[in-house]
Symmetry: C2
């Protein structure tokens, strides 16, 4: 096993690799989080985040993981007993469901086959049945990290808006890797986090609420203190946080946003598309079966079915120990049948080629009849094709 | 105003200055938080934290500010409607009260004159009246940051234990600056945070629960998800967190704990005592009046009354702009009458001398009749005296 300091190729769905310039920014000396320098920094960050969320509304920065951001979305817009519809296509859908229930929501689960996206027609039908508008919110993932499937929010957003329920969107792993037009698609609350496509260390969640969500906030009675977004908004007006923020990540965010704005959001989407296509092409060339249906395969992460007789842990262990290649395991009931390649954030084309070559070599070493270079070759061809 | 990159002398009660070795550690590349290297790191950190908390029980590491840790202490041990006694000697006592009430506790406030410590006799009397043992918990600060006063938990801990209520201790700014013997004094839940005496950037809270607290956890019905300490404990058993942890601070914690263990906990206390004495001596020599009664003056932070006719903001602004010296303002109703010097964490004797010299010069510049070097001189004498 490589020691902590040894070089690894980290391709998990978060934390993702962090550019050296961002790491350096994280190591800046501390400043007063109630002072003028901090306010300037926070205001600059919020302006950048608004671009990334494609919104004219404010974006709040919380010190917590993405899960904390999901909790904030729930407790700031709902009251105990409120009926909510939770769309589940994987483990993070289940998590959203648990959060809603932990705070007393009357949560109805609408589960879809894992590996597929939410079927908008089923949602439309269910909401049409709700004549009395009892459903206060629909909870949904932008990208489901456990299965590598994204939901088309350009379709779901308007369906939910037509009914009148709030849409609470977990875009933790998806935002800026896959298009998410917060305002245009009528998404009421959108949550993201630092350690995904933003190329930052974990420690910050970002939450964007529109006016409809703030109206709901006024009536929402779920208890909250640390995650009270009204407090966060009121402090944000003076460029502060209610509580002491995670300064290294706030410094890193400034640097990361500079890099992202320089690249341009459309180019960021295209980069994720290109790498995801290469991973999928490479896996297929190695004879591996992908878990996600192609129609909604995620540009953030690819879940791969473990070949017959070869557990994912065995593959991951060999790749870690021999190649320093860090892949993710399966979640929930997929633990023993799936492994996952993250290709979001600060990941280069050559990282993907190295991953595919190591994966091919590893599979051969584990006894699979496979041309070990086939994956890398197909990935190269895919990347070349994307440039034509 | 110094630019972000310019050198400042940061003497606020957190974030405190961070040693270069810790900042460097914070900038390490990301690793898999579900992998073997991370588990090793977390287990090493927990072992170090147990020394710092003077406990044989586990210490949980949460990604949040100290306030998040305070919320975790409340929601994991109490149910809505539970009667609790909140001892208030300043703004953070008020905060504990707000958290308890936000989650539906029937919270009774016992307030003491700000600038003084909790009077143990009043607590003893109140608890003696509670024949039916309705009071489930007593909430108290170890060190009250807003006033610069510490409570003697070696006395309060046993009083609370005798009654049978749980003690929930906010030791966010106090831990390892001032002795806090978690186990010996019978403290049931103790909360600390990274950006204080631990010399780390903000982003982590530390929570220690003993068996009595875990018994209470089993019955506690306040809603929680992100801050569910049962989940945190269960993941800690495999060297993990339930949610993605703030890796830069976790790396920094490893380095910071090495430095602290090398120095030795008793020496860490003595260092804080020495610096605090020097600050108090220096302020008096400058004719400044201290806000805290001497008996329980804090070794973490000193609150200073603004001289007549001179608002604290005016003093702080001059010191920031001319000397790069960053002091804290007053909190709550002390906003316009008090400013504060933090002397906890990675603060050297010469930092304190520089602070006293700048403060003397600044006061003179603002029109006070004062020998500008008197503060630094008295601080030198105090530091010299401590070495005899």
């Amino acid at each position: 096993m490589p020691a902590l300091e040894e070089k690894q190729l980290l391709l998990i769905p978060g934390p993702t690799p962090v550019p050296q310039a961002v790491l350096r920014a994280c190591a800046r000396p501390m400043i007063n989080h109630r002072g003028p320098e901090y306010a300037k920094l926070q205001n600059e960050n919020v302006a950048g985040l608004k671009e990334m969320f494609q919104t004219k509304n404010g974006v709040l920065v919380l010190t917590c993981s993405g899960t904390g951001g999901m909790e904030a979305a729930v407790v700031n817009t709902l009251s105990p007993g409120d009926k909510v519809l939770v769309l589940v296509i994987g483990a993070f859908g289940k998590r959203f469901l648990k959060i809603a229930r932990a705070y007393g929501a009357d949560a109805e689960e609408m589960e879809f086959t894992w590996g597929e996206a939410v079927d908008p027609n089923r949602v439309k039908e269910r909401l049409a049945q709700d004549k009395n508008k009892e459903i206060k919110a629909v909870l949904v993932q932008h990208n489901e990290t456990s299965t590598g499937v994204y939901n088309d929010l350009s379709v779901l957003g308007p369906i939910i808006r037509e009914h009148g329920a709030l849409s609470l969107v977990d875009a933790v792993s998806g935002l800026i890797a896959i298009d998410c037009q917060t305002d245009n698609w009528g998404l009421d609350v959108v949550v993201a986090a630092s350690q995904k496509a933003f190329m930052l260390p974990p420690g910050l969640a970002f939450v964007c609420m529109n006016e409809r969500a703030w109206e709901a906030y006024k009536k929402a009675k779920m208890p909250r203190f640390y995650f009270d977004l009204g407090e966060a908004r009121s402090f944000a007006e003076k460029g502060q946080n209610p509580w002491t923020p995670a300064l290294p990540q706030v410094y890193g965010l400034q640097e990361g946003l500079r890099l992202l704005r320089q690249e341009g959001l459309q180019n960021v989407f295209a980069r994720h598309q290109r790498l995801a296509d290469a991973v999928r092409a490479g896996c297929k060339a190695l004879g591996l079966e992908l878990f996600a249906k192609p129609a909604n395969a995620s540009n953030c992460i690819t879940a791969i079915k473990s070949p017959a007789g070869l557990g994912p842990d065995k593959i991951r262990k060999l790749l870690l120990e021999k190649y320093g290649l860090v892949l993710a395991g399966g979640q929930a009931h997929l633990k023993d049948s799936v492994f996952r390649v993250g290709h979001l954030g600060y990941v280069s084309e050559t990282d993907i080629l190295g991953c595919m070559a190591a994966l091919g070599a590893g599979l051969k070493e584990l006894g699979m009849k496979v041309d070990p270079g086939a994956g890398a070759g197909a990935a190269v061809a895919s990347l070349e094709g994307a440039k034509c």
